[in-house]
C-alpha cells in the first residue's frame, strides 16, 4: 500500500509515533509511581494516636488532629463566604448585566484573579486581613484570603451552568407574572445547582491543596480549636498542607510528612472523582 514512502519518511514516522506513545505512557507511570510511593511510605505510619491527638513536646509525640480540624474549618468558612458572592456574581453576569463592557471588565478581573500565584495571595492576605483588618494570624484571615482565591472558580462554573438553563424557563416564569428575583430564586438557580456543586467541589480541592496562601495568614499553630474559636481573630492554625511542609522542611519528620501526603492524596482522589461525577451530570443536562 504505502510503497511510495521513502525510508527517511518511515523513520520519521516511527520516531514520532514512539515519542507520542512514550509520553502518554510516562504520564500513566508518573501517576502510578507517585501514588504508589506516597502510599507505601505513608500508610504504615498512619496510626490512631496520630489521627486523634495534637503534638506533645512532653511525650515527644506528633498528632495531626489539629491540622485535620483546621483544614475542615477553613473549607467550611471559606465556602460559606465565597459561595454566595461567587454565585451572586455569576447571576449578575448572566442574568442582570446588560452592558457588554461591564461584563468584560468583571470577566477580565476574574481571569486576573485566577492567574495570581498563591504566594502573592498569601502576602496580600497578610497585609489586608492580618494587619489592616487586625485579625492577626488566624484561621479566619486564612479563610478570607482563600475566599478571593476560590472566587474565580465558583463564578466560572456557576456561569457555565447558568448558560445551559433554557431561556424558556425564564420566559415561562416571567410570563406567569413572577418578578425577576422570584424567577431567579425559584427557577434559574435550582436548575443551575449542579454547576454550583461543581464549583464547590473544585474549590474544596483548591483549599485542601493550598499552602503558600495560608503560611502567613493562617499561621503554623498546632492547637485543637473549637468550631467557634476557629472564626475568632488571633486563633492561628495550620492546615494539613502547611503541617506537611513544616514537618518535612523544618523538622525532617518524613514519616509524618508522608502520612499527611497519603491523606492529602486520598482526599484528592476522592475530590477528583466527585468533580467528575458532577461534571457528567452537568453535561447530560446540557445536551
Amino acid at each position: 500500500m504505502n510503497s511510495g514512502i521513502s525510508k527517511r519518511r518511515k523513520v520519521e514516522i516511527a520516531v514520532l509515533n514512539a515519542l507520542v506513545f512514550v509520553s502518554a505512557g510516562l504520564m500513566f507511570l508518573l501517576l502510578l509511581g507517585i501514588i504508589g510511593y506516597i502510599l507505601v511510605r505513608g500508610i504504615p505510619h498512619i496510626t490512631l494516636p496520630l489521627l486523634t491527638s495534637k503534638p506533645s513536646l512532653i511525650n515527644d509525640t506528633i498528632g495531626i488532629l489539629p491540622n485535620i480540624l483546621n483544614t475542615l474549618y477553613i473549607i467550611i468558612v471559606t465556602l460559606i463566604i465565597a459561595l454566595p458572592i461567587g454565585v451572586g456574581a455569576a447571576v449578575y453576569l448572566n442574568e442582570y448585566a446588560r452592558n457588554k463592557r461591564i461584563v468584560r471588565i468583571i470577566e477580565l478581573a476574574t481571569e486576573t484573579l485566577s492567574g495570581i500565584p498563591s504566594i502573592i495571595y498569601g502576602l496580600v492576605g497578610m497585609l489586608i486581613f492580618v494587619q489592616f483588618c487586625s485579625l492577626g494570624t488566624s484561621l479566619i484571615a486564612g479563610a478570607l484570603t482563600l475566599v478571593i482565591v476560590t472566587l474565580p472558580t465558583i463564578i466560572k462554573t456557576t456561569q457555565e451552568s447558568l448558560k445551559t438553563v433554557p431561556n424558556g424557563y425564564r420566559e415561562g416564569a416571567l410570563g406567569l407574572g413572577a418578578g425577576k428575583w422570584y424567577m431567579i430564586r425559584t427557577t434559574v438557580l435550582p436548575s443551575a445547582i449542579d454547576g454550583i456543586v461543581t464549583g464547590c467541589i473544585l474549590s474544596i480541592g483548591r483549599i485542601v491543596g493550598e499552602s503558600a496562601a495560608l503560611l502567613f495568614t493562617a499561621g503554623m499553630a498546632n492547637e485543637i480549636l473549637g468550631i467557634w474559636e476557629s472564626v475568632m481573630p488571633g486563633k492561628a492554625g495550620s492546615t494539613l498542607t502547611v503541617a506537611l511542609y513544616m514537618y518535612a522542611k523544618e523538622r525532617g519528620e518524613f514519616d509524618i510528612a508522608f502520612s499527611i501526603a497519603s491523606i492529602l492524596l486520598i482526599l484528592t482522589l476522592f475530590i477528583n472523582f466527585a468533580a467528575k461525577l458532577a461534571a457528567k451530570k452537568l453535561r447530560r443536562k446540557g445536551n
Binding site: 510516562l26 451572586g88 456574581a89 448585566a97 486576573t112 497585609l127 508522608f258 475530590i271
Partner: protein
C-alpha cells in the same frame, strides 16, 4: 396603605444591587491587591534605588551593611521557568497529540484520568517527593555535595506544569477542523505526518496559550520550589543552590523587619508585574487565535 407593586419593585431593585455588588467585588479584589502591593512595595524600591534593586547582584538582607539586589532571583525565576518549559512542553504536547488523535478510547481514558489526578496533587506533595526522590538522585547522578539546586527545581516544575499544558493543547488540537486532516490524508500523507505537519501547526495559537499558561504556573510556584531549590541567594547556575522570586518572599517573611520586610514586598510587586505581563500576553494570544478562526 401599602402598595404591593411598590414593595416588589423595591425588592427587585435591591436584589439587582446585591448581585451587581457581588459582580464588582471581583474587580474590587483585583484593585485592592494591586493597591496593597504597590503601596507596600514602592517605598523600598525608592529607598534602595530602582537600578540597584532590579540589577543588583548581591542580596544580603541581614548583613551589617545590607544589600538588596534581586537580579539573582529574577534570573533564577526566568531560567527555572524556561527550563521547565523546555522539558515540560514537548512531553506535554506529545501527550496531548496522543489524547486528541492517536489513542483508542479506553487507554485515552486512563491517561486522561492520570493527567487530571496529577493536576490535583498539592504542591507541597510534589515538593516532598522532590526532596526525597529527585534531590538525592541529582546528587548521586552528577556527583554533587548537595542535590538541592536549580536543576532539581526545573524537574519538579516541569512535572507540575504538565497537566495544564496537556489539557489546553489537547483542546486546541481537537478544535482543528476535520477537513484539514482529510485533505492531507487524501494527498497521501500518513496519519502521523498529517497530525504533525498539518494539525499541530494549525493548532499553534492554542498550543502557545498552553505554553504561556505553563509559564505563569512555573513562575508563580513557591512551596515545591522552596523544598528542592536549596534556597541560597546565588546567581543561577544549573547545579547551584538558588532562590526564586517566590521563595525569596516566602523564606524571609516570618522573621523580617524594617527595610528588609519592605524589600520583600517589592519582590512580590516585581513578581506581580511578571504575572500581569504574562496575563496580557495570554489575552493577546487568545484574541489573535480567535481572529484567525
Amino acid at each position: 396603605m401599602k402598595n404591593p407593586k411598590n414593595t416588589s419593585d423595591a425588592l427587585e431593585k435591591a436584589m439587582n444591587a446585591v448581585f451587581a455588588l457581588c459582580g464588582f467585588l471581583a474587580v474590587a479584589f483585583v484593585l485592592m491587591i494591586t493597591a496593597f502591593l504597590v503601596i507596600s512595595g514602592v517605598p523600598a524600591i525608592g529607598e534602595i534605588g530602582i537600578t540597584d534593586f532590579l540589577f543588583g547582584r548581591v542580596w544580603a538582607s541581614t548583613a551589617a551593611e545590607p544589600q538588596y539586589g534581586i537580579l539573582s532571583f529574577i534570573l533564577t525565576s526566568v531560567y527555572g521557568t524556561a527550563g521547565a518549559i523546555v522539558i515540560g512542553v514537548p512531553i506535554g504536547l506529545m501527550c496531548a497529540v496522543y489524547l486528541a488523535k492517536m489513542s483508542d478510547g479506553k487507554n485515552a481514558g486512563i491517561v486522561r484520568t492520570a493527567v487530571d489526578l496529577l493536576s490535583g496533587i498539592p504542591s507541597v506533595v510534589y515538593g516532598l517527593l522532590g526532596m526525597i526522590i529527585i534531590v538525592p538522585l541529582v546528587r548521586e547522578a552528577f556527583n554533587l555535595p548537595d542535590g538541592a539546586n536549580l536543576f532539581s527545581a526545573i524537574i519538579v516544575l516541569a512535572v507540575m506544569i504538565l497537566p495544564s499544558v496537556i489539557s489546553v493543547s489537547e483542546t486546541a488540537i481537537k478544535a482543528v477542523p476535520k477537513e484539514y486532516e482529510e485533505a492531507s490524508l487524501a494527498l497521501g500523507a500518513t496519519k502521523t505526518e498529517t497530525v504533525f505537519r498539518v494539525v499541530v501547526p494549525a493548532a499553534k495559537s492554542g498550543i502557545l496559550t498552553a505554553v504561556v499558561l505553563g509559564i505563569g504556573r512555573a513562575i508563580g510556584e513557591a512551596m515545591a520550589v522552596m523544598m528542592v531549590a536549596g534556597n541560597v541567594a546565588n546567581m543561577p547556575r544549573l547545579f547551584r543552590s538558588v532562590r526564586f522570586l517566590t521563595t525569596a518572599v516566602a523564606s524571609e517573611m516570618s522573621y523580617s523587619s524594617g527595610l528588609q520586610r519592605q524589600a520583600l514586598f517589592s519582590i512580590a510587586l516585581v513578581l506581580f508585574m511578571f504575572i500581569l505581563i504574562i496575563n496580557l500576553i495570554l489575552n493577546l494570544v487568545v484574541k489573535r487565535g480567535e481572529k484567525n478562526e
